[in-house]
Amino acid sequence: MPFDLHSINLFDMGKQFVFTLTLQKISFLAVAFMTFASAVAVVTMKNIFHSLLFLVLTFLGVAGIYLLLSADFLAAVQVLVYIGAITVLIMFALMLTSKLMAKRVSQTMEQWIVALPVTLGILVVLIRLVVLNPWGMKAAPAGPTTGIIGTSLMTKYLLPFELASIVLLVAVVGAILLAKEDKSDDPS
């Protein structure tokens, strides 16, 4: 059994076990297929705007995988930040670039013949190693994870939490510097 969701043991709940396992399996397969298929579409679409639309679907699929891993808060953030904000940002970037939207461009170049076997080789090695490894599993948290994340942000990970706000500040400053048109009356 190279890949069995049994070992992931997300909802170990006695009587409901058999039922949830199959439901879970079905939802995992559905979400995984959607994520993978739309990710392939992102890099193969000729129109870059269509790529972006499939990217939304990929982000949504990733959120679904987070849910299956009992990371409910992360799934919400994924929808909020990635689908809600990052996609809008990319769309604006496309809209602002002249003559990019209606153009049909090929996303592959001649080096794909070399790149494909290399990446497939890495993929095979990765899958083999990850599947063969006996992972030590912890039981998933029973309830919502938001509180756990909140507590660790306020206690152990206080420093990265505050540092994150400075990183965001630098992002604001950098974005304004690089994206704003310079006018002659600006301070130099």
């Binding site: 490894n133 206690t155 152990k156 400075i166 990183v167 630098v170 950098g174």
Partner: protein
């Protein structure tokens, strides 16, 4: 709590100083008058340097101390790299005042970003948790991308920023994959706990090896290690010269800080023999760097490949850490010497290039007549980079080679021979610059203006390049104290 605030004081000063610097820049509109942003930046860096040195010298930090539940280390290694970062950013600030003199740019933000980049390095040097390491590494990268693309009108600067960004995003994506594997294997992100978990139940060797290689993609990209070095020539060439100087010293030192901490504390050689891997990477890095440096005609590209070669020598020292106790102090000493030497070389390049409007080595012809002091200083910087006495670079190289030989490991011995051959190769291209400056006839002979501030920077780095060798005692003992207070292998 009071104690941890004292431990955090350099970071607090930098964070508040960076925010204040933004507004100092907004307030000082005019170029004429007192240079408030520059002076403020230097004051902030100096203010952060005082508690850092105090912590290192007054014995306030001890081996294995950390705060915030072990995610922020307060040890000699962290303090050493903080000092290097603060000093090098200070020198970069001085170089910037001259470089940007005739260029319109957002002055206040530039110095604020330099302070924030320094904050990123100081926190990175102290990070002892994979989450902190990832966050601070991204923080440093983000600031570096903005700084590399600071000359918005210059297409080469734009290219530098985009290339650095694309390469950096891939490298950090691979790195965080490796981190997730390590987290999956151990169930913790703290590198001390990772080490103790591995001691109790060893992980699958091949999977851990893969994870370590993935981590090296992220760290190797920061230190410009082959094969993660491709960004560096283009970025070094396109970025504004003071930013290039910052990337080649501060950013590289940060990469080594995290590399040393993760490998020496988190993954001991008993669990995974990483020394062999680092040795191979070291040999490849120094050879590629030094060989490709030879045909370069642009001095910034030449210095980029030279700094790849320097990373190779430093990796030799890192590999020797697995076998020799003097390896870590020798790496630190080398980094200290390299800091002043490389910043000095970039100070000369920045001063000359802005005035002759060219980065080509052939345009340095006859520099001895046009700017004699800078040319003479440049000779010593080149000698130091090559590792020839009477310069600091010689001391650093000597110590690293000594550590490798003292370990008695035959592979390290072989690698030392490779390093010596590489040193001889490097003399060729370093002395090529000297040849142009002294012996090739110049097309133009009018003297190049040397402003006082650049004379000060070049003079100071030149003095340090000599002093570190001639008056080596304090520097050697600083390297030993710093590494002694670090609980590694």
């Amino acid at each position: 709590m009071n104690f941890s605030l004292f431990y955090l004081s350099p970071e607090l000063i930098l964070a508040l100083g960076g925010i204040a610097a933004l507004f100092v820049g907004l307030a000082s509109k005019s170029r004429k008058g007192f240079p408030w942003p520059e002076v403020f930046c230097l004051l902030v860096l100096a203010a952060a340097l005082v508690p850092t040195i105090a912590m290192l010298t007054m014995g306030r930090v001890t081996s294995g101390t950390s705060i915030f539940g072990g995610i922020f280390a307060v040890d000699g290694l962290a303090m050493f790299f903080k000092i290097v970062a603060l000093i090098s950013t200070g020198i970069v600030t001085l170089i910037s005042t001259d470089f940007f003199r005739r260029i319109r740019f957002h002055r206040g933000e530039y110095y604020a970003l330099l302070i924030f980049a320094t904050l990123a390095i100081t926190t990175l040097a102290a990070s002892a948790d994979l989450i902190m390491i990832y966050l601070t590494l991204e923080f440093l990268s983000l600031t570096s991308y903005i700084l590399a693309g600071y000359l918005k009108q210059d297409t080469k600067s734009n290219e530098a920023a985009v290339k650095y960004f694309l390469y950096g995003s891939i490298a950090s994506a691979v790195m965080i994959y490796g981190m997730s594997l390590i987290y999956g294997l151990t169930g913790t992100t703290n590198i001390v706990e990772i080490a103790s978990t591995f001691k109790v139940n060893p992980a699958s060797y091949s999977l851990l090896y893969l994870a370590v290689v993935m981590l090296l993609a992220g760290f190797g990209y920061k230190i410009a290690m082959v094969p993660f070095h491709q960004w560096s020539p283009d970025v070094y060439e396109g970025a504004p010269t003071p930013v290039t100087a910052f990337l080649s010293v501060g950013s590289k030192a940060a990469g080594f800080a995290v590399l040393i901490r993760v490998f020496a504390t988190g993954i001991s050689t008993a669990i995974l023999d990483w020394a062999g891997l680092i040795m191979v990477l070291s040999a490849v890095t120094m050879t590629v760097g030094n060989l490709v440096a030879i045909p370069q005609t642009n001095i910034k590209r030449m210095l980029a490949y030279s700094s790849i070669g320097q990373a190779g020598y430093l990796l030799l020292g890192v590999a020797a850490m697995a076998y020799s106790s003097i390896a870590l102090p020798s790496v630190l000493l080398y980094i200290f010497a390299y800091t002043f030497t490389n910043l000095g070389a970039f100070a000369v390049v920045s001063m000359i290039s802005t005035r002759i409007k060219s980065d080509y080595i052939r345009d340095y012809a006859g520099l001895i007549r046009r700017a004699p002091a800078a040319a003479v200083a440049m000779v010593f910087f080149m000698l130091s980079l090559a590792g020839i006495p009477p310069t600091a670079g010689f001391l650093g190289k000597f110590y690293i080679f000594a550590a490798a030989i003292q370990s008695g490991n035959s592979w390290l011995l072989a690698l030392t021979i490779v390093a010596i051959i590489n040193t001889i190769i490097s003399v060729y291209y370093y002395m090529n610059v000297v040849r142009y400056m002294f012996f090739v006839k110049a097309k133009r002979i009018e003297p190049i203006e040397q402003p006082g501030i650049m004379n000060f920077v070049i003079g100071m780095t030149f003095a340090m390049t000599i002093i570190i060798l001639v008056y080596a005692g304090p520097f050697i003992s600083m390297a030993h104290i710093s590494s002694g207070m670090f609980k590694g292998i």
